[in-house]
């Protein structure tokens, strides 16, 4: 029995190796697509906001504020002073947003009159505008603290000078420290498995469909005319597509990892998720093939389901929010991708992705069981 299973699996493998389109779809395409994405976003999603400071007030206070800011800034945000008019500065393209300290600001602040800072941004870059607005709100809060202290000191009969000095230099009650998240993530470790799974649906679907195809072409009856049981044939076909799937996806993993430096995470976990994903895809393909009425119908259903799963599973959408982020968990592709991402980006170990491994394997085994029973009836007319 097992010798026959292996013979039939090996025969399928030999024919797969001879088919160049399998090589393109299973290995070349996922790597190529991942490399393109990697090249496009390899340096990370960058953010660079330059905020201009326009001091139209020209007082000691405004100068101090402007100087304080231009010394600040950090990764992704830069402050620099603006001499020209705010609108002109934005038009020049050197600034993404401008904070204006308007004329009379310090007088208004000191006298307790209504005071205001202006932020000018560009409609096409709302993020930069929001960032400047948030910074301005911080400046406004500091000015407010200073003048509240001043007024309160005066009314309480206290020397205002030292009190203000203490207020503006005091350590805020909330201190902020910056830490670093170690470890990196390559977008290739997302797109390579995602695209590989899409194409595996096609390849494994073809493999499953070859059971019906071989019946039509007469090679299946010929196999069954030998002392081979139908169960061996179905099992052999299944083992064959599993090996094709696991080997090709493992190659995609090893090539993107060792060749292009995209780390997919804990190797044991990665391999098990690959196996589980292939089992799920094979099971679904067998189910479709078993339930389809004709070979053409099986082909159409496999293609459509593969594409829908890939799209809904987030294959082409890195980090989508909204509908897709919920939808993807209802697809095997989405579950597998979640596991891959946890291994690569959350540095999870096997145990943490065990739920997905079990879920995918369960889906695969369940679908395969139903599909194989249906196929057995089809094979033995």
């Amino acid at each position: 029995m097992w010798r026959h299973v292996w013979l039939i699996a090996a025969n399928g493998l030999r024919r797969s190796l001879r088919d160049r389109s399998i090589l393109i779809q299973a290995i070349v395409a996922p790597i190529l697509i991942a490399v393109v994405v990697g090249a496009a976003f390899g340096s990370g999603f960058s953010l660079n906001v330059t905020v201009g400071i326009k001091d139209a007030d020209g007082s000691d206070i405004s100068e101090q504020i402007a100087q304080g800011l231009t010394g600040a800034g950090g990764d992704g945000i830069a402050f620099s002073s603006v001499d020209a008019d705010a609108d002109a500065a934005l038009d020049s393209g050197a600034y993404d947003a401008v904070i204006v300290l308007p004329a009379g600001l310090s007088d208004a602040v000191l006298s307790g009159e209504p005071a205001q800072l202006d932020v000018v941004g560009e409609a096409k870059d709302p993020l930069a505008q929001s960032v400047a607005e948030s910074v301005a709100a911080g400046i406004a809060a500091n000015l407010q603290t200073a003048r509240v202290t001043a007024v309160a000191a005066t009314s309480a009969g206290v020397d205002a000078g030292p009190a203000i000095q203490r207020a503006v230099t005091a350590t805020p009650p909330l201190t902020v420290e910056q830490g670093e998240v170690t470890g990196t993530f390559s977008v290739m470790a997302y797109f390579a498995p995602g695209v590989a799974m899409l194409f595996l649906f096609f390849i494994i679907g073809n493999g499953a469909r070859s059971i019906i195809e071989e019946r039509r072409e007469g090679t299946l009856p010929r196999i069954l005319a030998a002392p081979v049981s139908p169960a061996s044939v179905l099992l052999g076909k299944t083992v064959g597509v599993l090996i094709v799937g696991i080997v090709s996806m493992t190659l995609v993993w090893l090539i993107t990892w060792l060749g292009f430096g995209a780390y997919w995470g804990d190797p044991i976990g990665v391999f098990l998720v690959i196996v589980a994903a292939v089992v799920a895809i094979a099971g679904i393909s067998l189910l479709i093939t078993g339930l389809a009425r004709t070979e053409n119908q099986a082909d159409a259903l496999t293609t459509i389901i593969a594409l829908l799963f890939a799209v809904a599973g987030g294959t082409f959408f890195y980090g989508a929010s909204g509908v897709l982020s919920d939808l993807r968990l209802f697809t095997p592709n989405g579950q597998a991708l979640a596991a891959f991402v946890n291994l690569a980006a959350a540095q999870a170990d096997v145990v943490e992705v065990l739920p997905q491994i079990l879920l995918l394997t369960g889906i695969g085994v369940g679908c395969a069981a139903v599909g194989l029973v249906a196929l057995r009836n089809k094979v033995l007319t």
Binding site: H4, L7, N11, R14, R15, R18, D19, E217, G218, T219, P221, R222, I223, L224, A225, A226, P227, V228, S229, L380, T381
Partner: protein, 313 residues
Amino acid sequence: MAAPVLQVTDLVRRFGDHTAVDRVSFQIQPGETYGLLGPNGAGKTTTISMIAGLLTPDSGEVELLGEPLTSGRKSLIGLVPQDIALYPDLSALENLQFFGKLQNLHGEHLKQRIAHVLDVVGLTDRAKDRIDTYSGGMKRRANIAVGLLHEPQLLILDEPTVGVDPQSRNSILEAVDVLGGSGMAVLYTTHYMEEAERLCDRVGIIDSGRLIAEGTRDELMQRLGENSTVTFRVNGGAEQTHAWRVELAGMPGVSGVQGEDGQVAVVAANGPSLIAPAVQAAQSHGLDVVGVEVAEPDLEAVFLHLTGKALRD
């Protein structure tokens, strides 16, 4: 006496309301070549599929060498399906290796057997080429080679010459003749009367799922009795010809009429005496009889006699 290689008893298979095979029984002795002759759709392939264990009979029995067919005993049979049941993307050698291993052949023995069957079908030179580069006749021969590989007791050939050029057909027939002579039992289905006459020791005539006659060529000819086939060549319209045929079929002693425009064959007891009334009838239908031929009886005539219709339409 030794058990027959194949004993088929009351085999029945229905597909829905249609009874494809209806109580078919026959046996094949060692070394015998048995022809199953019948038109397309007569139930030949269904019968063969049940013998080879690909299809479960609704009732009836298949025994090989006196014992029922089980999965393990399938190796007694070498099946050569009607279609080219080979992997087109693999070479003949690879196909033979695969199917040979499924028949539990291996190692040196498998190698020898492959070399032998390639020699038998004359494909030794092209063994390493992919099947899809072969001509139609070569594919047929490779198809037969796979059936011979494991030295079966019974070789089943399902219409092996359909769609084959005359030259390849001849070499296939010669090969079958040789195999039959070598002591292997052969079950050969065809709708070509000449092949059955040339190759088979005994012939079973099958029509609409029933085995309606069986025997050696001579035995079957006797079924024809004094009947002979008279072929008329006529000029005239299709309608008139049809009307004439209907009249012919009603004449005394006529057991079968076949053919349409231009040529009509009639099987009748004492055929020559039919000629005069037939020609007269033709003229009354406005047909012009341009030739008359009284033929030697053959299996075609037997089939026509038994079923009233032609083997091929």
